[in-house]
């Protein structure tokens, strides 16, 4: 389904202890009509995953899915349908509606790996800055709301512009993956590594997710200064 031969799979497994087989996992993206959501949808679909783009409006979700191009395993649906049907669910909604959306989907997300990539940021004429979050981070807020889910934080820093650019074959960054559930973080690390060029790297427990979210403000400053689409690589790992 993904285009790996069985032999490639075996080699993959021999190469790394931490490898989890994520082929066949379907990926839901709540708020998947935004640029970040669409970009991740595109890359996971290109890697062979069935992707479900979620939105408040099923029609807009379907439009976004079709806009990614013909022949890709992507379709759109309402957020609740996506939350119920997908194996792994990525939360890519604006910070403003974050808590309310998750509260409305507790039942659908129960027991699932939920990947929060939301960056609580404010903007003014000096650029971006980190907002104070009562729970410490968007990811910790998700964990506080979704007590039955396996919440992981990841994909904060990846540039939507690069994800959506078909001319960009490889995305040069490490995806920091944070969480308290080892199997869940291993799974999301493997998913991150399905994006060509990217690598999933464990980044700590959920209580240390706030600074990873907030660092997106720094990347915005770096992008402005250097006219870049900056990402991070972790050295010596």
């Amino acid at each position: 389904m993904i285009g790996w031969s069985e032999r490639d799979k075996e080699i993959g497994h021999m190469m790394s202890d931490a490898a989890v087989d994520v082929t066949g996992l379907s990926i839901g993206i709540l708020g998947g009509t935004g640029d970040q959501g669409k970009g991740l949808a595109l890359r996971f679909a290109l890697a062979g995953h069935t992707v479900l783009i979620g939105s408040r409006s099923a029609a807009r979700a379907q439009e976004a899915a079709e806009a990614l191009g013909p022949g890709l395993p992507v379709r759109g649906a309402g957020n609740a349908t996506v939350a119920a049907e997908a194996d792994v669910v990525i939360v890519a909604v604006p910070w403003d509606g974050h808590r309310a959306l998750l509260e409305s989907l507790r039942a659908e997300l129960d027991g699932k790996i939920v990947v929060d990539c939301v960056n609580p940021l404010g903007f003014d004429k000096q650029g971006a800055y980190a907002l104070d979050v009562e729970e410490g981070s968007a990811a910790q807020q998700a964990a506080a709301v979704l007590t039955g889910s396996r919440v992981v934080a990841a994909f904060h820093h990846v540039s939507a512009v690069l994800l959506l650019d078909p001319g960009v074959r490889e995305i040069d960054l490490d995806v920091l993956v944070l969480g308290d559930d080892r199997e869940a973080t291993d799974t999301v690390q493997e998913l991150a590594s399905r994006i060509p060029g990217a690598r999933g790297v464990y980044g700590g427990r959920l209580r240390n997710a706030g600074q990873v979210e907030a660092f997106t403000a720094n990347l915005i400053s770096i992008n402005r200064r250097y006219k870049a689409h900056a990402g991070l690589r972790v050295t010596d790992v």
Copy 2:
């Protein structure tokens, strides 16, 4: 005041918008008897800078300077002497004594570039975590106390173990340099680049220093998971 000739300035401007000639700058390190301070002292001395290690005890500072090895341009003195004499002053004290020390050195540090590399972290059996800081970050606390100084945040992530290991010829990381004073951040970027392998990269305004300090907790988790001395590189810059 920094020892630039007009010609050097011109050459610097031709070479790069950001290039600043930092040769000849002496570096003071408050709290320089800790591993981080000693490691930075060693690398700046090896790069040819006169380094002044500061401590509450001038005798212990002198011991630390001598312990770095013979023939290096390093000496020890009390923190106040170091603050008064050095061209650029790095603050490498434990977070506990941060505010009190800076309050005691306001006059000595007036007008100078002060580089804060302090990480306000707590530790428990799950590892390291970021402490809440009233001012937002150690660097912002420094700026609030040292209203006459040019406060820059940098050197948070560099491993003291690697800095102090004479077998490590190159340190594989980017030093994120944050601040609101362009000439000051340019200067500190150049200083960071004097450490072989390292590169100074602008990382945003001082109000976004908190997440860079806090991210040191993530690096500690990464080091534990991967048995590494991890650092960050910024891609596409």
